[in-house]
């Protein structure tokens, strides 16, 4: 076959593929065929595994509802819901007043689950989980404490024998809600941190290497000796890395367990404002884990499409009630009862064209 014949046959094949693709495109149109309802949500990576479980379970109960959730980061979630390219957003850090003001329309924060940010490390010669006081953690991340056998670390860990090695700090490279929660905690317990670095999703870290994502930080800690870093609880547990006990505001060294996180939320319920945007780090409960946080779903109070709005509202209602029972096995802490009640009120406040959706 001449080269042209070959190319022509090849082109014919490709042309056929294109007609298939175009036929596909042609049956596009509205995107919501009759009985099926499709929603898109985007945002925080932290709750992604749980949300995937929720979407799947809810989909089994309501087969005509097809919801997609894609992790693009908390900031991405906020931006997309502001731009109205998705039906709901998700963020670990609550939106700031400035962000809410910049949004065309009123966004409601609905807390869904809780998570813990834990300190994990790679250290030889230590058999039991290390204990850290808040000021020690802040000074390690400030670069003031540089060796593992520093007397201040040993003061909290009398029975451990850390080596005389340099501490390699690992933090997050990219902006993340996890960094926000961690720096929020550090700013509360260390005036030095608050003044030098501050609270941000992407602060100017005084020392350390940046790992990409929770998995990047976990990977770097696993592969390098004498490292310390902060990750979401599930990453430390799944990778069998040790987690440190941290001294909370009541003076107790608390292990980052699911229950300790729920305690932190419950202990902070009284001071949680009406719009449910709150920081619960360094909470006051006796057994509260100090680096805990909510994660939120963001939805417009006034839903443009009544059908989609109803579906969203029903799904969220299911989530904070039935969905919570899937939380623990995936290492998320369920919402305390008082907060569930307040979230219910928020969900009930969603309307479409003036009429409530529930």
């Amino acid at each position: 076959m001449s080269i042209w014949k070959q190319i022509t046959t090849g082109r014919l094949a490709i042309f056929l593929c294109f007609t298939v693709v175009l036929a596909f495109a042609a049956c596009g149109g509205a995107g919501n065929s009759g009985s099926e309802i499709r929603l898109q949500g985007a945002g925080a990576t932290f709750p992604n595994p749980l949300y995937q479980k929720w979407l799947s379970e809810y989909g089994k109960l309501n087969t005509n509802v097809k919801i997609d959730y894609q992790s693009i980061g908390s900031g991405g979630g906020i931006k997309q819901i502001q731009a109205q390219t998705v039906d709901f957003g998700a963020s670990d850090a609550p939106m700031t007043d400035a962000e809410l003001k910049a949004t065309a329309g009123e966004l409601i924060h609905i807390p869904t689950v809780l998570g813990a940010v834990v300190l994990t490390y790679n250290l030889q010669g230590v058999s039991r989980p290390l204990r850290f006081s808040p000021d020690v953690i802040a000074d390690i991340f400030l670069g003031k404490i540089t060796k593992w056998n520093d007397p201040r670390i040993k003061a909290d860990n009398a029975d451990a024998n850390p080596p005389a090695a340099d501490i390699t700090v690992v933090h997050r490279a990219e902006a993340s809600g996890t960094s926000f929660v961690f720096t929020d905690y550090l700013a509360k317990v260390s005036p030095d941190w608050k003044q030098k670095v501050g609270v941000d999703k992407s602060p100017n870290w005084p020392v350390g290497q940046g790992g990409k994502g929770n998995e990047g930080v976990t990977g770097q800690i696993k592969q390098q000796p004498n490292t310390i870093g902060y990750v979401e609880l599930a990453y430390a547990v799944q990778n069998k890395l040790p987690v440190a006990l941290i001294k909370n505001a009541s003076g107790n060294f608390v292990e980052p367990s699911i229950d300790a996180v729920t305690v932190a939320a419950a202990a902070s319920a009284a001071m949680t404002p009406d719009d449910l945007r709150v920081s619960i780090t360094n909470a006051n409960g006796a057994q509260a884990y100090p680096i805990s946080s909510y994660t939120y779903i963001l939805a417009y109070r006034d839903q443009k499409d009544a059908n989609k709005g109803k579906t969203l509202v029903d799904f969220l209602w299911w989530g904070i009630h039935d969905g919570e029972k899937f939380a623990k096995e995936l290492q998320y802490a369920p919402l305390p009862d008082e907060i569930v009640k307040r979230a219910e009120a928020k969900i009930n406040s969603l309307t479409s064209g003036g009429k409530p959706l529930r």
């Binding site: 080269i3 593929c17 995107g31 595994p49 979407l55 799947s56 097809k66 994502g213 998995e215």
Partner: protein, 277 residues
Amino acid sequence: MKRADQTRRAVSAVMTSLTALCTLVAVGVLAIILSYIAMRGVSSLTLHFLIDSPRPVGEGGGIGNAIVGSTILLLLSSGIGVPLGIATGVYLSEFGSGLFASVVRFLVDTLTGIPSIVTGVFVYAVIVLRMKHFSAFAGGIALALIMIPIVARTTEEMIRLVPHSLREGALALGAPQWRVTLGVVVPAAMSGIATGAMLAVARASGETAPLLFTAFGSRFFPRNLNEPIASLTVQIYNYAISPYDEWHAQAWAATLVLMALILGINILVRFMTRRKF
């Protein structure tokens, strides 16, 4: 034999073995990476995995919808990117002596260095924000923009390398210039152009960031181009950044599937553009 001759031969022998060594290094690195991926992922490669859609962690699931999605995105982006790239390359090589052509050349070169995320955000701003939703169509455009400079560059280089005698012969036979280009020069450069196209396809198929802003992602099999669509790279990304070993294994397995897909396309295109003289 003179000393100089001996040295020259020795140098030649040394260099020959060095180039063989280079190839060995490259193939060796590929083997290392491939075996690592296979080791981590082959256990998840089942038929079920290739057909099913994703499930929550602990329930298995698969990448069937992602395979379909990636194929559609590749077809769409190649359909836009490859012809445009070849046309630009042909323009640069055939009519490429003026100021405008120099500008085009520089801009195409610069386009090769843009991080894919910038391209993704650009398409997001121009298409997704206007349409107020993510779509496979936007994803295809973003990938096409990534492909164009690679195809254009290689096409121009390859066409320039076609011996003038071929052109002159065709012109002497009375063919108009466009026929010479389309009928003689481009087919002569076809294998090089195909290389460029394949490199572009491989590059586009491995991109995640632009797709996150344009095609988004989905758990379902695609219905049309106007909606978000799943893709292998986004699915790999989702699984790889999670804490679960099961999802990690699926990410590695999906990588193997992606590589097999690209290899398949590569072999197919090479077969179709082979020269039989």
